[in-house]
C-alpha cells in the first residue's frame, strides 16, 4: 500500500527546494523595500505604483484566462466597482472620523469585487468559451452604461474624488506623499501575489486547471465545472477589486473610465502579452505594458496602433507570450544546446529589424500626411528626425519593408531548422523538450 502511495503521490520537496522557494519571496520583499532608494524621483515612484496595481489586476485576470480558461472582456467591472466603493468609503470614513486606517481600505475594494462577482458570476459562468466571452462583454457594457445613468453614485463624466490624507494616521503616516503610497501599493501587491500563488497550489486551483483542460472529465470525477468556474470567478473579482481600490487610492479619484472597455482591453493585452501559461507571465506583461504605454506615448502620437500591432504579432507568432518564449529555451539551456540556435537568431534579427524599421517609417510618414497635413515635413519619431516629404525616405521604407520581409521569411525558416536540430539534440541527452 505504501509502495503504491509513494508511486502516485509526488515526492515531498527537499529542504533546499523549500528554502529556495521561500527565499524568492524574501528577495522580492527586500527588492520592493529598496527600490525607492535606487530610483527616488517622484516620476519613478508613480510608475512603480502603477506597475504594482497593474500586476495585481493582471494576475487576477489570469485566474480566469490562464488558470480556468475563461476569456473575459469585462474584467474592469470588478476593478472599477472596487475603486468607486473605496472612494465613497474614504469619504465616509473621513467625514465620520471612523477608526479605520488607509492600509485596510483596499480590503473594502476587494470585498466589493467579490460581492459583485458573486452576484453576476453565477449566470455568466454557466458556460465557458465563446459564450462566456460574449456574456462578460454584455455585462460589462450593462454596468458601464448604468454608471453613466446613476450620476449621484458614479459622479457622471467627472467621477468622484476623495482625500486620502484625512483618515486615521498610522505611525504618523498620512499617505500624502507618493513614497508612502508606493509602500502601501508594494505591500498589497506582495500580499496579493503571494495569495494568488497560494491559490494555484490549492485543490481548487488544480480543479480550475482541470476545468480548463477537460470539463467533461471533471464531471466524471464528480465535480461540477460550473461551481469551479464560479469560485474562480469570485476569487478573480476579489483581487480585481483590490487592484481597483489601490488605483483609486493612488489617483484619489474614480471615474467611469475605470469600468470601461478600454480598461478591460488593457488588462487582456497585458496578461496575454506577458504569457498566460506561467504564473509569472502576467507580472512580466504588466511591467512590459506599463513601461510601453508610458514610453511609447512620448515617442510617437499613434502609440496605440503599435500597441495593437504588438498584440496581434504575439497572438499570431508567440501564443505563449513573452514568458512562453523564454521558457521554451529552458530545456536547451539545461542541455547546453542553446548555442545551436543563437547564431540563427542573430541572423534572423537583422532583416526582421529592417522590416520593422520600414514599417515604422511608412506608418509615421502616412500619419504625417493624414493627421497633420501642411505641417513641417521634418518630423521626429522614436527620437529620430527625418523628412516625411522626401522621396528617399519613401523609397527606403518600401525597400526596407519588402526586402526585409522577403529576407526575414528566409531566415526564420533557418531558425526553424536550427530549432529542430537543437531540440532533437536535447532529447538525445535525455531532457524532455
Amino acid at each position: 500500500m505504501s509502495e503504491f502511495a509513494s508511486t502516485v503521490a509526488p515526492p515531498l520537496p527537499a529542504t533546499t527546494e523549500k528554502l529556495k522557494f521561500y527565499l524568492i519571496w524574501v528577495v522580492a520583499a527586500v527588492a520592493l523595500l529598496l527600490l525607492p532608494n535606487i530610483f527616488s524621483s517622484g516620476g519613478s515612484l508613480t510608475t512603480f505604483s502603477l506597475i504594482g496595481i497593474s500586476i495585481v489586476f493582471s494576475l487576477s485576470y489570469n485566474i480566469l484566462l490562464g488558470q480556468t480558461g475563461m476569456l473575459s472582456f469585462g474584467h474592469a467591472v470588478y476593478y472599477g466597482l472596487g475603486g468607486f466603493l473605496v472612494i465613497h468609503a474614504i469619504n465616509i470614513i473621513g467625514a465620520d472620523k471612523l477608526p479605520i486606517p488607509l492600509p485596510v481600505v483596499p480590503l473594502i475594494g476587494g470585498l466589493t469585487g467579490l460581492l459583485f462577482a458573486a452576484l453576476l458570476g453565477w449566470v455568466s459562468t454557466q458556460r465557458s468559451g465563446t459564450a462566456f466571452a460574449m456574456i462578460s462583454l454584455g455585462v460589462a457594457e450593462l454596468i458601464a452604461s448604468s454608471a453613466l445613468i446613476l450620476r449621484t453614485f458614479f459622479g457622471g463624466e467627472a467621477g468622484v474624488s476623495a482625500n486620502r490624507t484625512k483618515l486615521l494616521k498610522l505611525f504618523g503616516w498620512n499617505f500624502g506623499p507618493q513614497i508612502q503610497i508606493y509602500y502601501l501599493v508594494a505591500a498589497w501587491t506582495l500580499i496579493a501575489v503571494i495569495a494568488m500563488y497560494a491559490l494555484t497550489r490549492t485543490p481548487l486551483g488544480r480543479m480550475c486547471n482541470a476545468v480548463r483542460d477537460n470539463p467533461e472529465r471533471v464531471q466524471f470525477v464528480g465535480y461540477n465545472p460550473h461551481v469551479v468556474r464560479y469560485l474562480a470567478f469570485c476569487f478573480s473579482g476579489f483581487f480585481a477589486g483590490i487592484a481597483g481600490a489601490l488605483a483609486a487610492i493612488n489617483f484619489e479619484i474614480a471615474n467611469s473610465a475605470y469600468l470601461g472597455a478600454v480598461q478591460s482591453g488593457t488588462v487582456l493585452f497585458a496578461t496575454y502579452i506577458g504569457g498566460i501559461g506561467f504564473f509569472i507571465g502576467p507580472i512580466v506583461g504588466a511591467i512590459f505594458v506599463t513601461f510601453l504605454s508610458l514610453g511609447l506615448s512620448d515617442l510617437t502620437p499613434v502609440w496605440q496602433l503599435y500597441f495593437g500591432l504588438i498584440f496581434i504579432v504575439v497572438v499570431l507568432f508567440a501564443p505563449g507570450g513573452i514568458t512562453g518564449l523564454l521558457m521554451m529555451h529552458r530545456p536547451l539551456l539545461k542541455a547546453g544546446t542553446l548555442t545551436k540556435v543563437l547564431p540563427s537568431y542573430l541572423i534572423a534579427l537583422v532583416p526582421t529589424l529592417a522590416m520593422i524599421t520600414g514599417l515604422v517609417l511608412a506608418i509615421e510618414t502616412i500619419v504625417h500626411y493624414t493627421v497633420n497635413p501642411g505641417d513641417d515635413s521634418h518630423i521626429k519619431a522614436f527620437g529620430v528626425n527625418f523628412d516625411a516629404a522626401s522621396p528617399y525616405i519613401w523609397a527606403m521604407s518600401v525597400i526596407l519593408l519588402i526586402g526585409g520581409y522577403l529576407a526575414a521569411r528566409k531566415t526564420w525558416t533557418w531558425v526553424g531548422h536550427a530549432w529542430d536540430s537543437a531540440t532533437s539534440a536535447t532529447r538525445e541527452k535525455g531532457i524532455a523538450a
Binding site: T130, M134, E141, L142, Q304, L305, G308
Partner: protein, 315 residues
C-alpha cells in the same frame, strides 16, 4: 400616439434589418469557423468610411458597389493570412486575434479619417421625403435603406436555399466536420464565407453611414449590440439572429421615443428615499435607459433560456 407607433415601428424594423445584415454574416461565420468575429463591426465601419471616400471621388452609387467589395476582399485576406494561421492555437487565440484586429482597425480609421464625424451626405437623388404620415415627413433615404436590406435578405435566402454553395453552407452550419469529410475545399469555403459576411457588414455600413454618424467610434458603439443579437438569438442560428435583430431594433427604437419615468408615473406617491442617491433610478426616463435595454435583455435571456431564443447548440 398612433403616429409615434407607426414611425417607431418603421424605424425599429429598419434598425433591425441593418442589424440583421451584420448579424447574418457573423452567425454564418461563427457556425462554420467556430470563431465569433470580434472585428465584424469594424468591417461595418470600414464600409462606411470606404463609402464616404469613394462617394467623394466617384459618387454614391459606385461606392455602394465598390466599398463592400473592397471590405470583403480585406475580410477574405484576414481569414486567409490571419485566422487560418492562428486557428491551430485554439478558439481563444482566434477570438483574441479578431479582438486585436478590431483595435487596430479603429486606430487606423482614426489616423486616416480623424476622430470627428466625416461629412457623409445622403445622395441628392434620394434627398426628399417619401411620404408624410400624420405630421412627420419620412425621408426617402430611409425607405431606400429598408429596401436594400430587404433585397439582400431575400437574395441571401435564395442563395442559401436554392444554390449549391448555399446547401454546403447550410450543411456546415450544423455539421461542419462532415462537410470537410465529404471532400469540399473547406478552406476556400471558409474564405468565401468570411469575405461575403464582412462584405454584407460593409453594405450595412455604406447605407447606414449617411443616415447615422460616420465616425471612428461607430464600431465600438455597435459591436457589443451585435454580440447581444447573436447571443440572444442563439449562437449559430440564422432564424434566431433574424428574430433577435428585429426584437432589439424595435425595443431600442421604442425605448428611445418614450419619455416616462418612475417619478412621472408615481409622482404623487413619491417615497422619502426618492430624494437620496436613489433619485437617479426614480427620475430616469425610459429614453435614457434605452442604451442598456439590449444588455438587460441579454442577462434575462441567459437566466431563463441560456441557449438563446432559437438556439439549439449548447456551445
Amino acid at each position: 400616439m398612433l403616429e409615434l407607433i407607426v414611425i417607431s415601428t418603421l424605424n425599429g424594423v429598419l434598425f433591425g434589418m441593418l442589424l440583421f445584415l451584420m448579424a447574418s454574416g457573423l452567425t454564418v461565420i461563427f457556425s462554420m469557423l467556430g470563431v465569433l468575429n470580434f472585428a465584424h463591426a469594424s468591417f461595418y465601419m470600414l464600409g462606411a468610411f470606404f463609402g464616404f471616400q469613394i462617394s467623394r471621388w466617384f459618387g454614391f452609387w459606385p461606392a455602394l458597389l465598390i466599398a463592400p467589395l473592397l471590405a470583403g476582399a480585406i475580410g477574405a485576406g484576414v481569414e486567409r493570412f490571419g485566422l487560418r494561421r492562428v486557428h491551430r492555437n485554439g478558439h481563444v487565440a482566434e477570438l483574441l486575434f479578431t479582438f486585436g484586429l478590431a483595435f487596430v482597425i479603429e486606430e487606423v480609421a482614426q489616423i486616416i479619417w480623424g476622430k470627428s464625424p466625416v461629412d457623409f451626405r445622403i445622395p441628392s437623388l434620394l434627398d426628399f421625403s417619401a411620404f408624410t404620415i400624420f405630421s412627420t415627413n419620412y425621408p426617402a433615404y430611409k425607405m431606400f435603406m429598408l429596401l436594400v436590406s430587404i433585397a439582400i435578405f431575400v437574395g441571401l435566402l435564395i442563395v442559401l436555399k436554392k444554390t449549391r454553395i448555399g446547401l454546403i453552407v447550410q450543411a456546415a452550419l450544423t455539421h461542419p466536420h462532415m462537410v470537410g469529410h465529404l471532400g469540399h475545399n473547406v478552406g476556400r469555403i471558409f474564405m468565401l464565407v468570411f469575405g461575403v459576411g464582412t462584405a454584407l457588414a460593409a453594405v450595412a455600413g455604406v447605407i447606414a453611414g449617411p443616415a447615422l454618424v460616420t465616425q471612428s467610434n461607430m464600431a465600438g458603439l455597435l459591436g457589443p449590440i451585435l454580440f447581444v443579437v447573436v447571443v440572444v438569438g442563439g449562437l449559430g442560428s440564422l432564424p434566431g439572429a433574424f428574430v433577435a435583430s428585429l426584437l432589439i431594433g424595435l425595443v431600442q427604437t421604442f425605448a428611445v421615443s418614450m419619455n416616462g419615468s418612475l417619478s412621472g408615473a408615481f409622482g404623487p406617491l413619491s417615497p422619502a428615499y426618492a430624494s437620496t442617491w436613489l433619485a437617479d433610478i426614480w427620475g430616469v426616463t425610459v429614453a435614457q435607459i434605452a442604451p442598456i435595454v439590449p444588455y438587460v435583455l441579454l442577462v434575462l435571456i441567459l437566466i431563463f433560456r441560456p441557449m438563446g431564443l432559437l438556439g439549439t447548440r449548447d456551445t
